[in-house]
């Protein structure tokens, strides 16, 4: 069970987020490729999920009553691998095999190779539909388990996201909590320039969701939002997490360039120093 579940130990979670960032940077530098910016922007959210909110048993990944986490923005695989490893799903030493031939840590998450990965993702726009199906299945089984689904902001340009948004509202999936990592940047540039998504809160409201708009790098705000989401009945909740791309490493922050490239060894050294 989560060490921080029973109480809101924000400092514990902040320290954990730092440890997650360290693992992300180390594995990306070792791999020499991968998505740095979007892994770091969503680190606080994923840390709060795995070390505060999620009902799970890392020693029993198939536990029927577990809460589910679906990483719809599959390119943030390093983030998922870091929280899974630090939760105890597998040994932390495996992280250095990221993207290497024969590694269970594929460039994008593969459920067939790694315990704790609920479903393979990587092609954007598909996770919310899958999460809906899980939420429906859990309700059919009378379980009070919840489903968390993390999306990117560029990702919500995919039409399927809005198909799924309608489905969740139509079937009143109040065991569903979506989170959008609004870091404002996608590969080709600022989201507002590539294809704007604002007013993003009104879009989700119009689709029948309960909307919680927060600073997605503020651990206290994340924890409160996750708690609040649980008490919403009759409709799904989306947490709009306004984040900073590359958060935690000053020279990556807010830089489009670091969406899809890994730190060099020199950048890693500097980054780790900053996080100390």
């Amino acid at each position: 069970m989560n060490p921080a579940t029973a109480y809101r130990d924000i400092n514990f979670l902040r320290e954990k987020a730092k440890a997650v960032r360290v693992e992300i940077l180390k594995m990306l530098a070792e791999a020499g490729s991968g998505h740095t910016g979007g892994s770091l922007s969503a680190t606080d959210i994923a840390t709060a999920i795995y070390f505060y909110k999620l009902k799970h048993k890392p020693e029993d990944p198939g536990w029927r009553e577990r809460d589910r986490f679906i990483l719809s923005k599959g390119h943030a695989a390093p983030l998922l691998y870091a929280v899974l490893a630090l939760s105890g799903y597998f040994d932390v030493s495996l992280l250095k095999t990221l993207r290497k031939l024969g590694s269970p840590l594929q460039g994008h998450p593969s459920s067939k190779s790694l315990p704790g990965v609920e479903v393979s993702t990587g092609s954007l726009g598909q996770g919310l539909s899958i999460a809906n199906g899980i939420a429906i299945g859990l309700k059919m089984d009378g379980l009070d388990s919840r489903v968390y689904c993390l999306l990117g902001d560029g990702e919500i340009q995919e039409g399927q996201v809005w198909e799924a948004a309608m489905t969740a509202a139509h079937y009143r999936l109040d065991n569903m909590c979506a989170m959008v990592d609004l870091n404002g940047l996608q590969i080709d540039g600022p989201v507002s320039e590539v294809k704007g998504i604002e007013p993003v809160d009104m879009k989700w409201k119009a689709f029948g969701w309960h909307v919680i708009d927060i600073d997605g790098n503020d651990m206290d705000a994340i924890v409160k939002a996750l708690d609040a989401a649980e008490s919403v009945k009759g409709k799904p909740t989306v947490i709009l997490a306004r984040t900073l791309k590359g958060k935690g490493v000053s020279f990556f922050e807010g830089k489009v360039k670091y969406h899809g490239i890994a730190p060099t060894q020199e950048e890693l050294r500097r980054a780790l120093k900053e996080l100390e």
Partner: protein, 324 residues
């Protein structure tokens, strides 16, 4: 005399009873399966009246989810249900199921090897009047290329029912291709369907026809005509197109001078493609493909379209005679 009449009546009655569309058989099979297995969940994309999942919906409303006109979302939702141990059947028209949602099927269903059953109706040109937009002639090719996918095309209503039962007991992604039009019952009474097992009606020295779906009945007709003209022709129902029953295919290939494939699908990438790929590597020999020749369908009655696109028994007869 009295006995003869009785027999005739019996035959007429049973033929009428059996000449149903494979989609109708699916509707009935789902209903039976739903009663037997509580883990069966059915999804549709606003076509439950046409795909016949509506019967299941009426009987088990708590296990039916209409996802509306959003096939990609339907496939994703079905995937999620399978992750909670449910046995989802997701249905819509073949072109929307395999075309619109292809990447969802690839990325989520097949890559994660999920236990999702994709059962699509309205395949091929026998859709008729709705025209090319609704006539899937590429779906077998689209599904066959995917790792982990099994592709099944039943020949008649009775086989369809067996297919639905069999795939429910099999773990993994399956695509089942069904039709809108009525098809005569062609499989023998004692026939037992198994995934990846073809049914050999008979083999012939002059040609063997490897057929699938509604073309099995057409091929049987063609073989009968040819045999009456002294040409020895066999017919094989290759209802599982992936994995192909290579043993049956090899037997058919070794016992005749010509292989003819027959499908209500493009000659590219479907049954014809699969058979040619196998034979080219394992038993090179002459092959003729009966199917849609790299063109779209159009509006018309199913019978008119089968003639227009060269999918009648006469077309098969002519093709085989030309090769003798």
């Amino acid at each position: 005399m009295g006995e003869m009449i009785q027999n005739t009546e019996h035959r007429t009655q049973s033929t009428e009873k059996k000449a149903i569309a494979t989609r109708d058989a699916y509707g009935e099979a789902l209903l039976e399966l739903g009663e037997k297995r509580k883990d069966v969940v059915v999804l549709d994309a606003d076509l439950s009246g046409s795909t016949k999942t509506g019967k299941f919906a009426a009987a088990f409303p708590e296990r039916f989810y209409n996802i509306g006109v959003s096939e990609q979302d339907m496939v994703g939702t079905a995937s999620g249900l399978s992750l909670t141990g449910k046995l989802p059947f997701a249905s819509t028209f073949a072109i929307f199921e395999t075309g619109r949602a292809w990447e969802q099927i690839r990325q989520t269903v097949c890559y994660s090897n999920l236990n999702v059953k994709l059962v699509a109706t309205h395949s091929g040109i026998s859709v008729g009047e709705d025209g090319a937009s609704h006539q899937a002639i590429e779906d077998i090719a689209l599904m066959r290329v995917l790792p982990n996918m099994t592709v099944v095309v039943p020949a008649d209503g009775a086989e369809t029912k067996q297919v639905i039962e069999a795939i429910a007991d099999y773990y993994g992604p399956v695509y089942v291709r069904l039709g809108r039009a009525k098809v005569p019952n062609v499989m023998p009474e004692d026939y037992k369907f198994a995934i990846a097992r073809a049914h050999i009606f008979n083999t012939g020295k002059d040609a063997n026809i490897i057929a699938t779906g509604i073309m099995v009945s057409v091929s049987l007709e063609a073989a009968e005509i040819l045999r009456s003209e002294g040409i020895d022709v066999g017919v094989i129902n290759m209802s599982t197109i992936k994995p192909l029953d290579s043993g049956a295919l090899l037997k058919a290939a070794q016992s005749s001078r010509l292989i003819v494939t027959a499908e209500e699908h493009s000659i590219i990438g479907g049954l014809g493609g699969a058979v040619c790929e196998f034979l080219a590597e394992n038993h090179p020999m002459p092959v003729k493909r009966i199917g849609i020749r790299d063109t779209f369908g159009c509006s018309g009655t199913p019978d008119e379209l089968m003639k227009l696109y060269g999918l009648t028994s006469d077309d098969i007869v002519k093709t085989i005679i030309q090769c003798q």
